[in-house]
Amino acid sequence: AQRVTQPEKLLSVFKGAPVELKCNYSYSGSPELFWYVQYSRQRLQLLLRHISRESIKGFTADLNKGETSFHLKKPFAQEEDSAMYYCALIKPNAGKSTFGDGTTLTVKP
């Protein structure tokens, strides 16, 4: 069975500092990996997905199949990045997502 692990429940950084939210997964095939974000009082929304290889709001995430990781990075954190971040995995052609526990990121001024 697939599993997603986010080892940090809470992460706090100062504005302008680099930030990395860790995500490891276990799945025997080639999954699709996503990062979702939930800002205060807003709905869960897609931040980025590994297949698009894009940078959203300054965030990037690289799929490392050797380490089975999909860490989310941003070189200079902003206060508006404070939110709950979820890493998720989808089996190809399955649809349902397997989520990690989530990491609450706080960016201090």
């Binding site: 997603v4 709905r43 897609l46 979820y86 649809g95």
Partner: protein, 112 residues
């Protein structure tokens, strides 16, 4: 375009009562999912509809939970009778294909 809508946003019920949650997906999305986040834990999959059919209901915790999707449009999730451990946030999501899912704002259920 309207997003995924869930109703109610909050519900407080007593143990043993029945509660029905509703989800209106994005128009044209065949795939509809229910997830649940229990306090402090991860978002867990409950079930997946493709149009009106249950594609995967492996995450449904027990037979107190019943999900329906009438005519392949909106979906309801009924909990009967509710227990204390059913408290949490219930999310609905819809997608056009098997990738990006669009989430509703969630229904916070509190069973007292």
């Amino acid at each position: 375009e309207a997003g995924v809508t869930q109703f109610p946003s909050h519900s407080v019920i007593e143990k043993g009562q029945t509660v029905t949650l509703r989800c209106d997906p994005i128009s044209g999305h065949d795939n509809l999912y229910w997830y649940r986040r229990v306090m402090g834990k991860e978002i867990k999959f409950l079930l997946h509809f493709v149009k009106e059919s249950k594609q995967d209901e492996s995450g449904m915790p027990n037979n107190r939970f019943l999900a329906e999707r009438t005519g392949g449009t909106y979906s309801t999730l009924k909990v009967q009778p509710a227990e204390l451990e059913d408290s949490g946030v219930y999310f609905c999501a819809s997608s056009q294909d098997f990738t990006e899912a669009f989430f509703g704002q969630g229904t916070r259920l509190t069973v007292v």
